[in-house]
Amino acid sequence: MAKDLVSTLADLKEQEALKIVEGRLSAGEEPLKILEDARKAMELVGKRFASSEYFMPDLVYSGEILKAVTDMVKPRMSKEAEIKRVGKVVFGTVAGDIHDIGKDIVVFMLDVNGFEVYDLGVDVPAQKFVEKIKESGAPIVGLSGFLALAFDSMKQTIEAIQAAGLRDNVKVMIGGGQISEEIRKYTGADAYGLDAMAGVSLAKKWAGAG
């Protein structure tokens, strides 16, 4: 049974996967076990995305199925067994840039992969990142920017985090259309991701869940 959910979800067979979950819940199975299988399935999805067997819409589709599974399982969980969040992430598109779709996809994928995400939106001033890091205590920060003009803004945001004395407490990832290792060095970020899956992998690694 367990293998079925893993392979069915990894194969992105939404209705079948949800039917399996329903059956296992009706049979009184421990909800956390179901979520553990869902997590294994997502690992397979990640591998298939990395090998180009899946492309971005498949990845987001898998996230939507996982969200549906989580929504089914959650009400059956006892308070003690509530789903533990993997970690906290402050995320936003940096000041001067208003592109949101890439940011929204990464936020969604982080969320369904168990992170508590503070989505600050687009055109976010550096100080707003600083305030949210202080307030939330999030150890991970994601800076998104689609155009080359975002690079200076990313650099200024990281400098503001540094000036606030928070740089040693957080890992910063950057992402967007034009990002490379050169840009990472220029901005002072710890790492960069070329797609949503890379962002999730980095966050998992930094949260010790990878």
């Binding site: 992105l12 939404e14 180009s52 067997e53 899946y54 492309f55 971005m56 819409p57 498949d58 987001v60 589709y61 996230g63 939507e64 969200k67 000041a95 001067g96 840039d97 208003i98 592109h99 949101d100 779709i101 929204d104 996809i105 969604f108 055109d123 155009l147 080359a148 003009l149 259309g177 034009q178 490379s180 070329l194 797609d195």
Partner: protein
Amino acid sequence: MPAIRDIPLSLKTGEVLRRQGFRGHSKIRPEIKNLILELLATVENTHLLEPAVAYEYYQVTGMSSGQVSLEGDKAIHGSLLPTIFPEAKELAALVCTIGPKLEKQVTDYSKSGETLRGMILDGIGSAAVDMLAPEACRLIASRATSHGHQTSSPVSPGWPGLPLTEQWNLFELVNTQEIGVSLTASGIMVPRKSVSMVIGIGPQMATWTRAEVCTRCSLRKTCPYRIQA
């Protein structure tokens, strides 16, 4: 200053897939394909695309290594234009947009947790702009041909040798208010699904394909939207 609307755009699934980062070796899941087809139908039935092009012609009055001088004491700065079309007699400045409706729908989908729909609709918007730009170029080419001239392929601010700061300059050359396109303080076009371009016009103009542009781009190895020859 001329502006045209009601440009028919016939969107194809292949272009939409490219804008989703599809590279040809992935399988297209029926659910994804059906969603693309459904959203393409939605775009058409609810008139989410409002394609419009504003453009203007300028006589070239001078050319140096760092700028093209235009009639009316105007100029476009940077080394790119003098390099790629030194013999241009005239220059067309254009701004094209698909309007704000599609972007609003993308935001609504994202806000309501329909991330996949939002993502695919956003890709449809990008594909629509990709299709609109060549239509606008054809319009310029048609006039040039009737004058016995050729047109260059288009270039846009942000290309090496044509700084992004020239975006403001270009917006001075075209009446973008006519089509509802403006610039943010940082130079991003709103609606975002817009494109600005400059085309050289003259007896002999250089042309290049979109795939050739991709091969010269610094992101040619990693860009998920690159076009392969």
